[in-house]
């Protein structure tokens, strides 16, 4: 039962982490390698508001989300827009931005074990005979709620529909009067805010450390590749596959194998079916 309960929790966390990355890539075909950096940024901003300025937890979290979203949009507007379409330059540039942010935090003293956010609740629940702390349960509930909100947003609002239009066919969307640069900017802002949301949910479970930025990036990449780059449904399914695989391997092989399992999952999927489980097969674009 441990495996089931913690598998679900782990899977939802992974899906949350990957959602922002999948959104940005799906809409503007931009692999945002600064995703992990934005994740950590939200954590540190929230911490600063909470501890240094003494603001309310909710207010500081919301402010941090807004700032992270603006930072993401700013990164796109200032730098990434100039190199859009050149896949390798996009990867190098966004990775360099992420590196600059993360190492900048490290330099300005955000390192070590001193930075933690309080959990949302101190209660403990018993689920299927397994004791689970309330925060993890809340993460699953809120995570599902965020995913539902995102789904509703992209299906029932004008902006959301425009974003999906961009994701399906950018040129056709432009012909129908959708400003593709503006939409990409929005997507980047939204994706950054999503990275921030996952940070707000997941960071209270551990310390805020710079290294998390790199781990989060790898996890997001793993989920998105296994699920198929650009496919949101695939990303959620993949999150469950990898999430359970990680929990099972931790339970039976040891914690060290957790990362090995997800890396092997990505490599296998990349080699066998590069567009992922749910990606549209574009044989000519991805392999010879």
């Amino acid at each position: 039962m441990d495996v089931v309960v913690y598998g679900v929790i782990n899977s939802v966390s992974l899906a949350l982490v990957a959602l922002g990355f999948a959104l940005v890539y799906g809409i503007s075909r931009l692999p945002n390698f600064a995703h992990g950096a934005l994740y950590v940024t939200t954590g540190f901003i929230t911490w600063s508001f909470l501890k240094s300025l003494g603001l309310n937890y909710v207010i500081s979290g919301v402010l941090a989300l807004i700032i992270t979203g603006l930072v993401g949009a700013g990164i796109y507007r200032a730098i990434l827009i100039r190199i859009r379409g050149m896949a390798i330059s996009e990867i190098i540039a966004s990775y360099a931005i992420g590196l600059a942010i993360l190492e900048g935090f490290r330099y300005w003293g955000f390192k070590g074990m001193t930075y933690t956010l309080p959990t949302f609740t101190k209660k403990t629940f018993i689920l299927l005979d397994v004791p689970v702390d309330g925060h993890r349960v809340l993460v699953v509930v809120l995570g599902a709620f965020v995913m539902f909100l995102l789904w509703a947003f992209t299906h029932y609002t004008k902006v959301g529909l425009a974003l999906r239009g961009m994701a399906q066919d950018e040129r056709a969307a432009m012909m129908l009067g959708i400003d593709s640069d503006l939409m990409a900017l929005l997507a980047m802002g939204l994706g950054s805010a999503l990275a921030g949301i996952s940070a707000l949910f997941l960071l209270p479970l551990g310390n805020i450390v710079v290294e998390k930025g790199y781990d989060v990036l790898i996890q997001a990449l793993a989920v998105c590749i296994v699920g198929g780059l650009g496919s949101w449904a695939g990303a959620i399914l993949a999150a469950f596959i990898i999430g359970f695989a990680q929990v099972v391997s931790t339970a039976y092989l040891g914690a060290k194998f957790q990362m090995v399992v997800s890396l092997i999952a990505i490599l296998t999927v990349l080699i066998l079916k590069p567009s992922g489980l749910f990606g549209r097969q574009k044989e000519l674009e991805e392999r010879v």
């Binding site: 540039a93 590196l99 330099y107 590749i225 490599l267 990349l270 080699i271 991805e286 010879v288």
Partner: protein, 337 residues
């Protein structure tokens, strides 16, 4: 519209045109025009170890040349074969571990274990990368990015090859100047060798693979085989770099698979100028000492680094060498349109 628009016109210098063919041999001036840039690099590097007296900076020069091997290999693979590999660290790690094992377990002399390890581990790398070769573009890039990560984690998880402690007691290269010259000479040989190679027939096929692999396939040429050859050549440089690093540091560990070995060569290629093979070499000679100068800033140097990289990608994507080459071969003037 009475505002006159101007446009920059670029023309080849007369001497460049005269040097194009066999006529370059007509006068010393023409020969010097062709040979000087190359000679400055070669002679400069050969003299440098004696000119730099501090041992610390000699070591920096060695490491710069080792990185240059990686960077030139990256440029070759990315811009002549069309495989953008983000996994330079994988070559370094495999080469380093193989060399360390050869040295500590079989007791081979470093001067024997380095070349042997280079060849063995290049074959290993090529075979391991074979399944990825059909992949294109971003997919290949991400797959190769994962290789060194996975290798490091596997060594850590299975606790093989010394686990997190690494392999200690690797023999150093004897002699004070030997490691420096090994690095310099191998770097130069690798770069000039690849430059020669890409202008041969095989280079033509490789470039065709990059530009349009379907047409290469239609000509009855096995694309994967040529890609494998390209990876093997790149791996030769990378594995040699790893093998010599292990003997320079006298230690092999998981840090050989660190991201640095993948990132710095790419940065050097961006700064130095892609598609030239010399550019990445120069890029390394600039970036590695620069990062040593910045060492006192701690991790802030990575921030500087990233900004330099960003500035080059966004503002001057041709890189330094392409820029310098253009200035050397052509003159520019403003003409009214």
């Amino acid at each position: 519209m009475n505002q006159k628009e101007k446009r920059k016109e670029r023309l080849d210098r007369g001497i460049k045109v005269r040097c194009d063919g066999i006529y370059a041999l007509m006068s010393l001036r023409e020969m010097a025009y062709l040979a000087l840039p190359r000679l400055i690099l070669i002679v400069g590097l050969m003299v440098a170890p004696f000119w730099i007296t501090q041992e610390y900076w000699q070591r920096v020069l060695t490491v710069a040349c080792v990185y240059a091997l990686l960077a030139v290999g990256f440029d070759f693979l990315a811009h002549y074969v069309g495989l953008v590999s983000l996994g330079g660290a994988f070559f370094v790690g495999v080469g380093g571990y193989v060399s360390a094992v050869l040295n500590t377990s079989l007791g081979l002399h470093p001067l024997l274990s380095i070349p042997l390890a280079t060849i063995i581990s290049s074959v290993i790398c090529t075979v391991l990368l074979l399944p990825c070769l059909p992949l294109r573009g971003v997919y290949f890039a991400i797959a190769t990015l994962l290789y060194p990560l996975l290798a490091g984690r596997i060594i850590e998880a299975l606790n093989i090859l010394g686990g997190t402690d690494g392999i200690r007691g690797v023999e150093g290269i004897p002699g004070h100047y030997t490691p420096i010259y090994i690095a310099i000479i191998s770097g130069l040989l690798f770069m000039f060798g690849l430059r020669r190679l890409v202008n041969e027939d095989i280079g033509l096929v490789l470039r065709a693979v990059k530009d349009n692999d379907q047409s290469v396939r239609a000509s009855g040429i096995n694309v994967t085989r040529y890609k494998a050859l390209g990876v093997f050549l790149c791996a030769l440089g990378g594995c040699f770099a790893g093998a010599s690093l292990v003997h320079i540091y006298m230690w092999a560990g998981i840090s050989l698979f660190a991201l640095d070995f993948s990132i710095l060569p790419i940065a050097a290629t961006v700064v130095g100028g892609a598609y030239t093979l010399v550019g990445p070499f120069l890029g390394c000679l600039i970036l590695v000492p620069a990062s040593e100068f910045l060492r006192e800033f701690g991790t802030l140097r990575i921030v500087f680094y990233s900004f330099i990289l960003l500035a080059f990608i966004v503002l001057k994507s041709e890189g330094l060498f392409n820029f310098a080459q253009r200035k050397y071969h052509q003159f520019e003037r403003w003409v009214e349109v």
